[in-house]
């Protein structure tokens, strides 16, 4: 995206009001440009010279660097930006650009020689009459040419612009292509005359110009523009002649654009003349030039006619997704510099005849018109339409992710029963039933189904008890629900999602289970903190009956106990007929949501 630097105060003056930076950013955002940077001339120079940052003093002029869309050539200068924003704000009407009505005889003429077709076949021209330049306008005029050269002109390969003080020249003009040794002139910013081939050599050391030399360097003929006195106007796309250089005092400006792409040449010419005709004696009026080719065909430039486009209202509504009355749409389009006249056809269809001004070369199709309606309406005001989609259960998705991580550090998954015997849930775990924890089955078919488990421990220990012959160590885990009595629920009980993991080997593997706790905390994105700190997790020794005293601990996560781990008490191991030491962890993972 191209960036345009403009003086803040001059911009505000041209827009006709002051903005705070935030207000201006909002305006840019709505309109589709972006305030990229705020700086000062001195800061830019300091940056180029890699000097220390300094606080800019009060009297330095603030410069706004504004990013504009790559297809909006009319926004590449302060004049165009200010005009577009004034119209967008409803301050100004859409300007009407016109070509001065002068007879063909008194019109300036440009004759194109057939040799130009070998190198750069097209030229378009126009004249700005009675321009009043001052330093700021003059700099803006030069900057616009640079930006056009950089962007649409593709670094002068497609189009090159030459601007001249018309009063130093005498028409008719000729656009020719000659062998380099035939061309001699004093180029801009030089005092002596160069032959074109020598000039090319000379510019090889010029940082700015050397990158354009390749465009014509290898051609047997170079393009060149002369006036009737054989004064060289320019050697496009490299340099203008010194003779016709424009100055602050220039009154009448002759603009020529030579090109390999005629469409772009016209856009460039139109951009130049529409932007700067604002400073002409007759505002927004441009004097034409007749360009005649060798085959006798002639064209009058610039072509400032409006492009008419028929756009049905229904098309606009169907694109934007908002139904708007015709006159609202028309006034929204006015804000975007598009004049729209609506008419109703026999079948009651409303359509607009949209007039696209020469400044809006980006409007190619009714979809561009629809976009302008949407922008003027406000993208962020458009009501959203929902499409069907599904939402997952976060808890289940989280479990999927955690299960993968635990398997990846070497633990195998088991899937055990929710129901267990009363003994397994309490006494075999050295636990007492406080009568306020477990949901009890009323009609169990066997003792195996007496209680809804309150922890995953019985199922895990039974799995180990039944796999005594399995090679050690055994590392298993389960993620599943337990049920606890819960007064806050209508039925008086609720599920909790737990994670349990067990290590069984020749030694207890207590430090391994401790390490697994650390890993679980790492994957849920929690850091290890000092006891008492509620931003992460820490471990503190605990005193639970199912674990061996001194080798068990609580896991405190964000200040809350969420689980315990420890060496399973030898008595409990014995209860489940496990001959090998085991370490075990159980965590309520709903806390990680």
């Amino acid at each position: 995206m191209p960036t345009v630097s403009v003086g803040r105060d001059r911009l505000f003056q041209a827009i006709g009001r002051e903005y705070t930076q935030e207000e201006f950013e909002d305006l840019c955002f709505q309109f589709g440009i972006e305030l990229d940077d705020v700086t000062t001339e001195k800061a830019i120079i300091r940056k180029e010279k890699h000097l220390e940052e300094e606080n800019p003093s009060e009297d330095e002029e603030w410069i706004y660097k504004i990013e504009v869309p790559a297809n909006r050539y009319d926004l590449l200068c302060l004049e165009g930006l200010a005009q577009a924003l004034r119209i967008f704000n409803g301050v100004d009407p859409i300007p009407t650009y016109s070509v001065a009505n002068i007879s063909k005889e008194s019109m300036h003429k440009m004759h194109v020689k057939p040799e130009t077709s070998k190198i750069r076949p097209y030229v378009v021209c126009a004249i700005l009459k009675g321009v009043s330049f001052d330093e700021v306008r003059y700099n803006s005029f030069i900057d616009l040419q640079d930006r056009l050269h950089q962007n649409i002109c593709r670094r002068r390969t497609l189009v090159a612009i030459g601007t001249h003080d018309l009063d130093t020249l005498e028409g008719p003009f000729t656009y020719e292509a000659l062998t380099p040794s035939e061309i001699n002139f004093v180029p801009l910013k030089q005092t002596k005359s160069f032959r074109a081939d020598e000039l090319m050599e000379f510019y090889k050391s010029d940082l700015k110009l050397k990158k354009f030399l390749h465009i014509i360097e290898d051609s047997p003929v170079y393009p060149v523009i002369y006036d009737r006195n054989r004064t060289v106007l320019s050697l496009p796309p490299i340099i203008n002649g010194a003779h016709s250089a424009i100055t602050l005092k220039t009154n009448n400006v002759f603009i020529e654009c030579t090109a390999t792409d005629l469409t772009k040449a016209k856009i460039v010419l139109n951009t130049m003349v529409t932007m700067f005709s604002v400073y002409c004696e007759r505002k927004f009026e441009v004097e034409p030039v007749e360009v005649t080719y060798a085959d006798g065909k002639s064209f009058i430039y610039p072509d400032l006619s409006l492009y008419q486009m028929v756009v049905p209202l229904s098309y606009i509504s169907s694109m934007v997704g908002v139904s708007l009355p015709a006159n609202t749409v028309a006034s929204l389009l006015n804000k975007m510099q598009l004049h729209a006249e609506h008419s109703v056809s026999d079948d009651k269809q409303t359509s607009f005849i949209v007039s696209v001004p020469p400044t809006r070369s980006d409007i190619l199709h009714p979809c561009d018109v629809a976009e302008d309606v949407a922008i003027a309406f406000g993208y962020n005001e458009i009501p959203k339409a929902k499409l069907a989609s599904l939402k997952p259960q976060s808890l289940n998705q989280l479990c999927e992710l955690i299960r993968m991580e635990i398997a990846m550090v070497g633990y195998s998954e088991v899937l055990t029963w929710i129901l267990c015997s009363y003994k397994e849930n309490f006494t075999m775990l050295n636990r007492k039933d406080d009568k306020a924890t477990a949901a009890i089955n009323g009609n169990p078919r066997s003792a195996d189904f007496e209680v809804v488990r309150t922890s995953l421990m019985p199922g895990i220990l039974k799995t180990i008890g039944h796999n005594k012959d399995h090679p050690k160590p055994i590392k298993i885990f389960e993620v599943g629900d337990v049920v606890l009595l819960d007064d806050t629920k209508d039925v008086g009980a609720s599920n909790r999602r737990h994670l349990a993991s067990l290590y069984c080997g020749a030694t207890s593997g207590f430090e391994l289970i401790h390490g697994l706790v650390d890993r679980i905390m790492e994957v849920v994105g929690t850091s290890f903190v000092s006891p008492g700190d509620e931003t992460g997790y820490y471990i503190q020794s605990s005193d639970e009956p199912e674990f061996l005293p001194g080798r068990q601990a609580s896991i405190i996560y964000k200040g809350k106990q969420i689980g315990t781990f420890g060496i399973v008490h030898p008595q409990v191991l014995d209860n489940f007929d496990i001959p090998d030491p085991c370490s075990y962890v159980e965590i309520n993972i709903e806390n990680f949501l």
Partner: protein
């Protein structure tokens, strides 16, 4: 045995005043006694105080001389009473013994050193140096003058002897309980776990790190993105084709041939295979037409479209090249579709902290009748809210193949500002109609990189730490779950 000796002695006595003497009395090596004292002290069964004593020991050289005699004595003995030539004598002795022996023997006036002949000056010598060394070796006292002389010759060196004086500690017991570090199978078998006393466990330190593999964070994010698309009813497009023609990458998207993105500064063009062999010719004609002179309601770009440009092969600059192929295929027999892809794209860019020459593009599109900007905004809010970005706003933007186009901004709570997170729009009629899609069909689409949200998510500020061979392997192992879409 040593532990019992120490604890047993203290049961009867107030103090072991010197661990050295104690070890001699008990006939247990001092090292063993010291180890036991240290361990008992650690468990506070005893209180131990350091005792230090300095004494002299022999250096390596000193030990040699204590064994074989001093060099001067060795030299003297090597000289027969009748004398010997210097050369002969030299042959009989080790060079260092000869050298030192000569110096010392001359100093002691034991021998006469002639021009060629060496002879004894005295009949008999006492090897005092050796005697002194042996005395020191045996721990016997030697007078200070002799010590100095031996020290100068570097034959002796000071040795610091360390021992302890020991009293009962606060946890004194005549017999220590077994201290265990872990519960073992043997403990369970023997049933002695009841008597085990565990060494205190440090819960302020982390446990033993787990071993295992980890998945790449970027691909973890990709997985979640895929889940999100699937939940939103999107079907994945096949994107396993990095090499693409300019036609499918640019021209078919109504991107003009002079567009800056088509510069070699931005795109990798291929030397081999340099051009594409086959394009659907009738479609190519329609694309050429719409670029040159428009049609389908468009003015076109008004330039001369060149087939050679379209034929140039490149590394795809966006996955939209694939979307284009999919839409073209869909146009042949239209049905509404929701498509997504997440895959590699290539840009000829300088690599820096935020840019790589390759990255992953996430793309979603919906192709259906009656879609509006309102639908696009709705689907974007749905998609991004699943990524945890529910505060969005949209800025008008320019993109050659979408109109309207919207840049998507999200309010970043951490940075306290709006940041651009993606691009979106409705595909232009100049792109869709030449494919043969029905006129009332709209395509709404959006795209973003996979890297940017991942970097924000995991707090990574240098893209090279995340993706590529300069990746920090530690980061891959340490990074948490990707919870997008949960």
């Amino acid at each position: 045995m040593a532990e019992e000796a120490v604890l047993g002695y203290l049961e009867e006595n107030e103090e072991i005043s010197d661990s050295g003497k104690f070890s001699e009395e008990k006939g247990i090596s001092h090292d063993e006694i010291v180890n036991v004292i240290k361990s008992l002290n650690g468990f506070r069964l005893v209180d131990a105080q350091d005792i230090k004593r300095e004494r002299w020991g022999l250096t390596k050289e000193g030990e040699m001389y204590a064994e074989a005699g001093s060099p001067e004595a060795q030299l003297f003995l090597a000289i027969p009473p009748e004398g010997i030539t210097r050369e002969e004598l030299q042959k009989k002795l080790d060079p260092s013994i000869f050298k030192i022996g000569c110096q010392q023997a001359i100093k002691n006036k034991w021998i006469e050193m002639g021009k060629s002949q060496v002879s004894r000056k005295v009949q008999h010598v006492d090897d005092r140096v050796r005697d002194l060394l042996v005395q020191i070796q045996n721990g016997e006292a030697v007078n200070a003058e002799d010590v100095d002389a031996l020290k100068k010759r570097k034959l002796i060196t000071p040795l610091i002897w360390k021992g302890y004086s020991v009293k009962k500690g606060p946890k004194y017991a005549p017999k220590r309980k077994k201290v265990a570090t872990d519960l073992t199978r043997e403990n369970l078998l023997r049933g002695d776990w009841r008597e085990l006393e565990f060494k205190e466990y440090n819960f302020l330190a982390k446990g033993q790190p787990t071993e295992g593999g980890c998945l790449h964070p970027l691909l973890k994010v990709r997985r979640q993105m895929q889940m999100i698309f699937l939940q939103m009813g999107f079907e994945e497009m096949p994107t396993n084709n990095f090499i693409e023609s300019s036609f499918w990458n640019f021209d078919a998207l109504f991107q003009p041939q002079q567009h800056p993105a088509r510069d070699s500064h931005d795109t990798f063009f291929l030397k081999e295979p340099s051009t594409t062999k086959m394009l659907p010719e009738d479609y190519v004609e329609r694309v050429k037409g719409v670029h040159e002179s428009g049609g389908y309601g468009s003015r076109g770009y008004g330039y001369e479209w060149k087939r050679e440009e379209a034929n140039k092969n490149l590394l795809r600059t966006h996955t939209t090249a694939v979307s284009t192929r999919m839409l073209y295929a869909l146009a042949q027999d239209f049905a509404p579709k929701k498509y997504y892809s997440i895959d590699r794209v290539f840009r000829n860019e300088a690599v820096d902290r935020t840019h790589l020459a390759e990255f992953h593009q996430i793309e979603g599109l919906i192709c259906d009748r009656g879609l509006t900007l309102g639908h696009l905004i709705g689907v974007l809010e749905d998609f991004f809210s699943r990524l945890g970005m529910s505060k969005l706003k949209f800025k008008p933007a320019y993109n050659p193949y979408t109109e309207p186009s919207m840049e998507i901004f999200s309010y970043h709570e951490g940075l306290r500002k709006w940041v651009e997170i993606g691009n979106s729009g409705m595909f232009r009629p100049e792109m869709l109609l030449p494919m043969g899609l029905p006129e009332d069909v709209q395509v709404i689409a959006w795209g973003l990189s996979l890297e940017r949200p991942t970097m924000i998510l995991y707090g990574i500020d240098n893209i090279r730490d995340l993706f590529g061979h300069k990746v920090d392997l530690g980061l891959i192992k340490r990074n948490p779950l990707c919870r997008l879409g949960l």
